[in-house]
Amino acid sequence: MDLHTKLKILGAAAKYDVSCSSSGSSRRNRSSGLGNASLPGICHSWSDDGRCISLLKILFTNHCAFNCLYCVNRATADVPRATFTPDEVAQLTINFYKRNYIEGLFLSSAVYKNPNYTMELLVTTVKKLRKEYQFNGYIHLKVIPGADPLLIAEAGKYADRISVNIELPSSQGLQLLAPQKSRDSIIRPMEFIHSKILQTREERKLYKNAPLFVPAGQTTQLIVGATPDNDLKILKLSESLYNHFSLKRVYYSAYVPVTQHPNLPSIASPPLMREHRLYQADWLVRVYGFKADELLDENQPLLDTEIDPKSAWALRNLHLFPVEVNRADYEMLIRVPGIGVRSAKRIIAARRYSTIDFDILKRFGVVLKRARHFITCNGKFYGERNINELTLYQMLKPTAKQQNSTKVAGEQLTFPSLYPQLFQPEDVHTVITGEM
């Protein structure tokens, strides 16, 4: 089989993995080598579905021993199969990288023969790239569920980031749709990677040259809409992953119906709006300091599809508003709908030297259409008087015209459904305040 056919098959097979970022690592180039990593990450292109292409995202092979129902590559599926050799992967990576097509390699794989055998192939490939080809660009490696911890430890020496996909947010879901995977085979490697990262961090405090271990941390991915799990459950899961395993990102992937099966929900198109709202809520948890419990509860376990989660939170907490922009602290300012991290920082900086008036807010990029209902500016309120939650809800909704203009092929896509360059909390400083 020639390289073109292999790349077509194994590139297409990797497309449902959503992780795309190349951030979080500052691996440096050595004098004779090729490549380095850029801390905030770099996007190189955007595919026709609007998702960013940063890394050469491929499967090593799509021959699979597992039979997960939601997956195109499951053992019983009738699809063309292919397998790369380590040198083919290395040469593709090097040659794409030299032409600046990509920021590095994202290597995943179906389970070929058994988890350890596959994991070993992946580690061999990455080791080859680093040692033989002198490649110092970004490498993201997928952990095969069930692989030996020794192999994961070896992989972490060469990769910038590794990830274990949770895929389904509950063990019942896994049992139903991916019977060969278990909660344990997913959580245990995450735990192991986390402790290894902590250990390396301590070692590097003592010895500057102690070897790196996944400097860009670990991430995971959840499929949304393949099982009946609600948003509250998903968001709580993400929150605990951030808290307990210091995950850099949790990616959400709207379930794309690729096969039919009685255990799978029958839907016409992927739930993109739900995915989008989850990303927004996730963002609020990671960057804005919200708790999952503040955004959702048992009585309201689903995110509102009409308005964004921050507006929805503000409407439920009208007693906290309006806030005075000249006095409110940063934590409160970023909770105002229409004020983001960037505009809040500008307000904080500017008001040390002059009072902020309404015109300045406009210039600072505050979305006054939303924000005016929740703020006062020099004591003056610019929103409507005598207004209640319900009328405000109607005003915060995107208008029918806005919705129409964003309709694509019968689907409703109001906003980018995937943030392009997915930065982590520690990057916020460089990405958002770097320009201030």
Binding site: H4, L7, A14, S38, I42, W46, F96, A349, T406, E435
Partner: protein
């Protein structure tokens, strides 16, 4: 009303700012010589570029304001915006009074303008780090043509120097007829233009095809969204992208 006119170089602009402090009449605006229009009520004063005066102003920015202010001023200059010279002058005037805290005085329209220009230029430079496409020529040099909105060649060249130190490469700003030439860890930015198409290496076509095929196959068909794609990757950058062949800029 007095306008100062400089020769379009960064040093020229800094010289004009130097003169604005030491001459009698204070300029209303500072303009580059390629965007002046006849105006009866304006007296144009042409400033001769002086390396030493420029250096003194630059050192003063770094010492009396901050090195990040110096960077912002340079980026604002590279935006080639008509009002950049004047905004830089007003920003520095305030900066010499306030010191490094000038960057917090965002309520001031000139300070804010500098911040906006700096952001625009660094955003485009950041985007270009990903959107540049090198082509391997017959003579072993990697060549990348670009047409950025701003004059960012000097900002992006060091990135590729660090990343590809053993590769010979040229990044060519076709619009400004400038190119960064790199060989063995050193680069220079020089005027550059060529008449004939450069001959490509034989294996180049193979990798271009591989990349195009990969690009086609990575998109999920049920989520096709050209609007989102264009939002992140504006059509005006498509001209030199391998994966979007022959797509000319639509106005």
């Amino acid at each position: 009303m007095v306008y100062y006119v400089y020769d379009g170089s960064f040093e020229g602009l800094l010289t004009a700012i130097y003169e604005a402090y030491y001459r009698q009449e204070e300029p209303e605006k500072i303009l580059s010589d390629d965007n002046i229009q006849d105006n009866l009520f304006v007296q144009y004063v042409y400033i001769n570029t002086d390396q030493q005066k420029a250096q003194r102003v630059y050192d003063a920015i770094v010492h009396k304001i901050s090195s990040s202010a110096a960077k912002k001023v340079l980026y604002a200059f590279l935006s080639e915006a008509q009002d950049a010279g004047t905004a830089i002058y007003r920003y520095l005037k305030l900066g010499f009074k306030m010191g490094k805290s000038v960057d917090s005085a965002l309520a001031d329209p000139y300070v804010f303008r500098i911040h906006v220009l700096h952001k625009k230029v660094s955003q485009e430079a950041g985007k270009m780090l990903g959107l540049i496409r090198f082509r391997l020529l017959k003579n072993g040099i990697f060549y990348a043509p670009i047409e950025p909105d701003f004059n960012i060649l000097g900002i992006i060249a060091p990135h590729f120097k660090r990343r590809m130190p053993t590769q010979d490469w040229i990044i060519h700003d076709v619009k400004r007829k400038l190119a960064a030439f790199h060989s063995q860890g050193q680069y220079a930015i020089l005027p550059f233009e060529f008449k004939e198409a450069l001959p490509l290496d034989d294996e180049e076509f193979d990798y271009q095809t591989l990349w195009k095929e990969y690009f086609q196959n990575i998109a999920i068909k049920s989520r096709i969204n050209p609007r989102l794609q264009r939002q992140f990757m504006p059509v005006r950058y498509w001209k030199y992208l391998i994966e979007k062949p022959g797509t000319q800029t639509k106005s």
